[in-house]
Amino acid sequence: MYRVKCSLFWKLSHVQRDRVLRDWERRFLQHHRGTCDECRLAEEALEEGWCTLAAPVVEPILHDAFERRIIEALREPAPQSPVRYWSPVVVSGAVAAIAAIVALQLIRNSTIVPVPGLGASEARNTPPSYGSFPEIDFTSPPSFTR
């Protein structure tokens, strides 16, 4: 059965690989090892796993060809990286293209753009069709009775 105490035990068991445990943490581990055989045995088995993991695999075999290959590769021109569509150059190019298209459209349709001082002023002087805005009297308290 896996209990809350076992969960804390494993948490602390992992933590002790990185730092020195506090007194209560050390005491808890000691106590749990004494009471839970499953965790104690698993911890002993796991220690072998950590040792195997940490053991060096194979020492690197170093030879001159390693350096030579790098230096020879550096003599050749670097391969061109593929175009990234999200790169700033591509994005700013796209924005500039859209702006140019919009500007061209505006120039082409310039006849329907209102001339300053004429169309706009006429529109401003035209009274609204929905009538005047209702006036509110703030001096007297509102009455909700009909």
Binding site: Y2, R17, A45, G49, V57, I61, F66, I70
Partner: protein
């Protein structure tokens, strides 16, 4: 890009200075390149091998890291950051490889039976590592094998320290469960 130039004599302290060699690399001195490579290659190959678990692939990745960094050497502002920059590039290339394909245990298939238990443990570790995601595996290797601090792992993997802490806990828990499944028979598994 690089031409052949001869090295001249210099005081020891100058020769030990990385920025001196990097300046010569920028000037196109191939012998300086060789010096810089020989200084860092062992660590790079070892780390790549620990992450990828494949000697040939590890060497390829280390070479790729050197090439990438030397080609961008002109953009490196602080020469003191060269070693960590190179290491970071190497680890990222390893992670890219891991994401592209899962590494398989090959180093330990051709060993004598006299080393039975040790080899079994080795194979179990390889299998467990191959089941971890690239992020968890790299974090575990950098901490447990390379013995980097949390801050160093965070810097290399370009993630916050808190992320390293949680990934490490997850990786260790996964390792524990898989290890007990493979070599032990304790029922105390969540």
């Amino acid at each position: 890009m690089f031409g052949t130039k001869a090295l001249s004599q210099h005081p020891t302290e100058v020769l030990n200075d990385e920025s001196y060699w990097l300046a010569r690399c920028r000037a196109g001195d191939e012998s300086a390149l060789a010096v810089v490579i020989s200084r860092h290659r062992s660590r790079l190959i070892r780390t790549s091998k620990n992450i990828l678990r494949d000697a040939h692939e590890a060497e390829d990745v280390a070479q790729e890291a050197f090439l990438k960094v030397f080609r961008e050497l002109g953009r490196l502002r602080d020469d003191r950051a060269f070693a960590s920059y190179l290491y970071r590039i190497c680890v990222r290339l390893c992670m890219d490889r891991l994401r592209a394909k899962r590494a398989e245990p090959a180093e330990f298939d051709r060993v004598e039976e006299s080393q039975g238990r040790h080899i079994e443990n080795r194979l179990a570790v390889e299998r467990i590592l191959s089941e971890l995601t690239p992020d968890l595996r790299t974090t575990l290797v950098l901490r447990e094998i390379e013995q980097l601090s949390y801050e160093e792992v965070a810097d290399v993997m370009h993630v916050p320290v808190g992320t390293v802490r949680s990934r490490l806990h997850t990786a260790r828990e996964r390792f524990r469960k898989l290890w007990i499944e493979q070599v032990g028979d304790s029922p105390c598994i969540a």
